[in-house]
């Protein structure tokens, strides 16, 4: 087997192992904690009959390991169980929500990643000049702010107190396509962009500065290379590599960051679905969504790992 394939396979297997452990955590936190799950869901006033029925439905009477096995088997075959509240299959319940969230996250990623790469590399290049000072202080400030703070400030600025351009609350018409209702997406996605971009900007700025200080850039300059060649061929490709991991991390973070942002804007995605499920203690939905979000992290990370190997000659050829 080619060594590259071997490494990819190894990483994939490790990723699967992590996923398995992740599912264990999800299950343990919800069904295996030393507390009466059924009573926690139904509350103190629940009748013994209802408790018994719920225990039956959730398999709670069997040993934890058996419960886990049958739950995992269900996950593997696409059966995530039935929602306790809506009394319908979880998959059907959240599939529309997943699409909405995906649209939001994708939009945010498509804006923030290229923008951040551009700002970060320019900022590193123009180190200590006016532009850089503004960008680094700006990204430092934004990176500090929790996303709900950014969101509320945006609402105050663009939806209520100062300007009245965008709606503060998302009222999606489920009948028409989400792309036809872009105005609804502006504030939530802008919030996500402002929450994510600063990290990528800072990473790229730092790696750009490091690369520009390197011996091989000095060498390229002393070889008489034009500034274009120095930056385009020698600096940028090397500076972007460390950003790959950070971008992956941030995309994965977006999947979790939507929780607060969707709640704030009342956006009908998995985040608000998770919030509802937690309030209602709708166990199967909670399990499904947390597993989905953590699974995305593992996958993004895996892709970033493999991508980093592919674009760095030292790693790629070092495998032989």
């Amino acid at each position: 087997m080619p060594p590259l394939l071997k490494v990819i396979l190894r990483r994939t297997l490790l990723g699967l192992l992590t996923l398995l452990l992740v599912s264990g955590v999800v299950f343990a936190a919800t069904q295996a904690l030393p507390s009466d799950t059924a009573r926690a869901i139904l509350g103190r006033e629940a009748t013994p009959e209802r408790l018994a029925a719920l225990r039956e439905q959730l398999d709670l009477n069997r040993p934890a390991i058996v419960q886990y096995g049958s739950w995992l088997g269900g996950v593997a075959t696409g059966d995530l169980g039935d929602s306790l509240v809506a009394k319908q299959p979880v998959t059907a319940l959240i599939s529309g929500r997943v699409k909405n969230s995906a649209a939001l996250v994708l939009l945010a990623a498509l804006i923030s990643v290229p923008l951040a790469l551009l700002l970060g590399s320019l900022s590193g290049l123009l180190r200590d000049r006016g532009f850089d000072t503004v960008v680094s202080l700006g990204s430092l400030t934004l990176a500090a702010l929790p996303e709900f703070v950014v969101g509320i400030l945006l609402i105050l600025l663009l939806a209520t107190q100062v300007f009245h351009i965008f709606p503060a609350v998302t009222l999606l018409d489920p009948e028409s396509s989400i792309l036809a209702q872009l105005k609804m997406l502006v504030l939530p996605s802008l919030t996500l962009v402002l929450a994510v971009a600063p990290y990528i900007v800072r990473t790229l700025r730092a790696s750009m500065i490091e690369v520009l200080e390197s011996d091989y850039i000095q060498m390229a300059r002393l070889k008489g290379m034009s500034e274009r060649t120095v930056l385009g061929r020698h600096a940028l490709p090397n500076a972007i590599v460390p950003a790959i991991q950070v971008i992956a991390l941030n995309l994965a973070w977006l999947a979790g960051g939507v929780v607060v942002v969707e709640y704030l804007f009342n956006y009908p995605g998995i985040g608000s679905a998770l919030m509802d499920a937690v309030s209602n203690r709708d166990l199967p939905v909670i399990q499904a969504i947390t597993l989905l979000i953590a699974g995305l992290y593992v996958i993004f990370n895996l892709v970033a790992d493999i991508l980093t190997i592919l674009v760095s000659p030292r790693l790629r050829t070092g495998l032989q």
Binding site: L17, T18, L21, V22, V25, V26, A29, T30, L33, S35, T37, A40, I41, L137, L140, T141, A143, A144, L145, P146, E147, F148, V149, I152, L153, I155, L156, T160, Q161, A168, A252, W253, A255, G256, G257, V259, V260, Y263, L264, L274, M275, A277, V278, S279, R281, L283, I286, T290, I293, A294, Y297, V298
Partner: protein, 323 residues
């Protein structure tokens, strides 16, 4: 200073020392202001704090943090009302008896703001402390023992890392309920893999340095090497990491309150205030804006201080060649 740098399996020192040694040695830019002999501050964190204060952003950050901290700590002494009294109609506009107006139940916003900062500060600090203790312990153990222990510890921490912090908290809260100790514990736990990674990275680098080998050759015990030799040389990155995690803790704790999983009504808490009053955002924005602004000022402040420390750390690394 490294005229005969050798390659091959023997050369275990990192690349850090190879820069521009010729002219000025390892403090290329720093030498422009040579440190006087007597000016050395020795304990690493004292030196870090001192150097960090040389940056204007650190001073600004410190002022912001102190402003919010003093407000939060002394606030209850200054509040005109208790946070639970009904002083007017719901969403009353600011006036002479309520400087910032009233909230959705008609309580004084200013008083609730003055009472509501302690919980954020205290819980965030506690969560960061727990996370740091766990993270530094895991990181030191993983970094210094290497091999199987290292692999296992880091793989398990990777699992925690796979959950966005807020999602993991929600997961545990869903069955156990929104208990404050649980939230602090889980937020701390979610910090620990990140702190462990930093600790482990720094430990791995320091472990290869000869002064650790020298202690090993003298037969100093492992635990004494970890605590007495390694830890004092990696305090700078750890302090920077602590600052960073504190910033995120504040955001997380406030966000959880905002989502309704932190302190429960009728408690006065900035995150909770934002949640309770956001429906009336258009009518009475102060009940939302003031807590939001204070959280913003606090996190910006801690992040500025952290950034100042990070910059100072680079200078200290150059000076001592420490990791």
């Amino acid at each position: 200073m490294s005229p005969e740098r050798k390659k091959g399996p023997q050369a275990l020192h990192g690349p850090g020392l190879e820069l521009s040694e010729e002219v000025i040695g390892p403090g290329f830019e720093n030498v422009s202001a040579p440190r006087a002999q007597g000016d050395k501050r020795r304990s690493e964190w004292v030196q870090l704090a001192h150097d960090a204060l040389g940056y204007r952003r650190t001073k600004i950050g410190l002022v912001l943090v102190l402003f919010v901290a003093v407000l939060a700590i002394l606030g209850p002494l200054l509040a005109p009302y208790t946070p639970y009294e009904f002083t007017g109609l719901p969403y009353a506009q600011p006036g002479s008896d309520a400087v910032l107006g009233t909230d959705h139940l008609g309580r004084d916003v200013l008083s609730r703001v003055l009472y509501g900062g302690r919980s954020v500060l205290l819980l965030a600090f506690a969560a960061t402390a727990i996370g740091s203790f766990l993270g530094v312990t895991f990181g030191l153990v993983a970094g210094y023992t290497r091999d199987a222990v290292d692999d296992t510890v880091m793989r398990l921490l990777d699992v925690v890392l796979a959950f966005p912090q807020i999602v993991l908290v929600l997961l545990f809260v869903s069955i156990l309920g929104p208990k404050v100790w649980l939230i602090v514990l889980i937020v701390g736990l979610t910090h620990s893999p990140r702190i462990a990674r930093v600790t482990r990275g720094a430990t791995l680098e320091v472990r290869e340095r000869d002064f650790i080998k020298a202690a090993e050759a003298l037969g100093v015990s492992r635990i004494r090497i970890a605590i007495g030799e390694i830890l004092p040389t990696i305090t700078s990155p750890l302090l920077v990491e602590f600052g960073l995690r504190l910033t995120y803790s504040i955001g997380l704790i406030a966000a959880l309150s905002f989502l309704g999983f932190g302190l429960q009504p009728p408690a006065a808490d900035w995150g909770l205030m934002i949640n309770e009053n956001r429906i009336g955002l258009i009518v009475q924005p102060y009940a939302v804006f003031v807590p939001v602004a204070l959280i913003a000022v606090l996190t910006i402040g801690t992040n500025l201080v952290t950034d100042g420390m990070a910059r100072a750390m680079i200078g200290i690394e150059r000076d001592t060649g420490a990791a």
